[in-house]
Amino acid sequence: MYEFEFEKPSTIAEAVAALADEDAQALGGGQTLIPTLKQRLAMPSKLVSLAGIAEMKGVSIADGVLTMGGGATHAEVAADACAPLAALAANIGDPAVRNRGTLGGSLANNDPAADYPAAMLALKSTIVTNAREIAGDDFFQGLFETALEEGEIITSVRCEIPEAANYQKFAQPASRFALAGVFVAKYADGVRVAVTGASEEGVFRWSEAEAALSANFAPDALAGISVDAGSMIADLHGSKEYRAHLVAVLAKRAVAALA
């Protein structure tokens, strides 16, 4: 790692002020950022830990809305979020990673193989920052790109609790990130299907599947529907065709789990 200063503010306002310094960077749980720093792939002048900010903690459910602090750890989400999201969080990384890694940190990083982004698209989320509210549908902007501005902090996230939802993940054998992951959420006004891990464009909503499932919420409704293999990721762990196939399989499994 390159040398940096370390700061640990206790309020959002202090954190925002600290992040105003040139090349200052926010530190959530560090489970991605610290390995990145070890590889010297980033060179912040200062790391601003968000772990001491009480107002960014907590996971609660009220009036059909799930509210999670940006600083909530994966373990806290796994313990206290609505069931489908809790199950997703319980399968991120490993127990030690879940005890440190945070929801806000993961979302801000927007790794194309991360799990949360699929949930955020499927669960009608709102990403709340120190400055504004961003609809989940507008937040993710390609690989490792988000709508966040420099120095902007995810303070909390709201999701609308669905009637039913399920996340199916197929793990890359080495990293155990998603080789493909499909989150299906059923609402009164329709079904949302979000796909992570698979596309070269990052997480996306699979509109054909949404339309089919909104009309007929059954695994068979997905018969004959597929994502375009051409836009899928190809790497050591799977071809474009394999990923496209996995997306279809996982979507059916998610629906079957709810049927």
Binding site: K8, S49, D94, R100
Partner: protein, 161 residues
């Protein structure tokens, strides 16, 4: 450099640290607690697992500064007060749950965290929980068996002693 202070295995500990000093480095180099091992740089092998404020974390993926004021427990603090092996450590010895010993501190610390939350885990739950702890020697057989035994489960039917 700044001063960083924490409680390690029940004792106050402090030292000088750069911002970039990892908790694992602080434990190993500043405090001489070399039982916490570093086996990778991508936060996957789990040889460095310690407990911070009662939770298992990877000490190589946490800055020493982040642990300021925390209660840290390491493998050096696990034995019983009289120096004898605790239940988990003893089960690892009884069931040959270690060979080269390098992953062992992290395995024991992860097992302790698991059993705190889940006193009688199934084989599948143990295997899943150990997702972040790699062992290259044992093929995991005797590690899983030792954790089951440590939780008071009968392991006599599991093949091969």
């Amino acid at each position: 450099m700044a001063k960083v202070s924490m409680t390690v295995n029940g004792k106050a500990a402090s030292g000088e640290a750069e911002g970039r000093m990892l908790l694992s480095s602080f434990l190993r180099e500043e405090l001489g607690l070399t039982g916490t091992h570093v086996g990778c740089d991508t936060s996957q092998c789990g040889a460095c697992v310690v407990h911070v404020d009662g939770k298992a974390v990877k000490a190589c993926t946490m800055l020493a500064m982040e642990a300021e004021g925390s209660e840290v427990s390491t493998i050096e603090g696990q034995a019983n007060a009289d120096g004898s092996l605790n239940v988990i450590q003893q089960a690892f010895q009884d069931h040959h749950g270690l060979q080269c010993g390098f992953c062992t501190p992290g395995m024991v610390m992860s097992a302790a965290a698991l059993l705190k939350d889940n006193p009688k885990p199934s084989e599948a739950e143990i295997r899943h929980y150990l997702e972040g702890n790699l062992c290259r020697c044992t093929g995991y057989h005797n590690i899983v068996k030792a954790i089951m035994a440590a939780s008071g489960q009968d392991v006599s039917s599991i093949a091969a002693e």
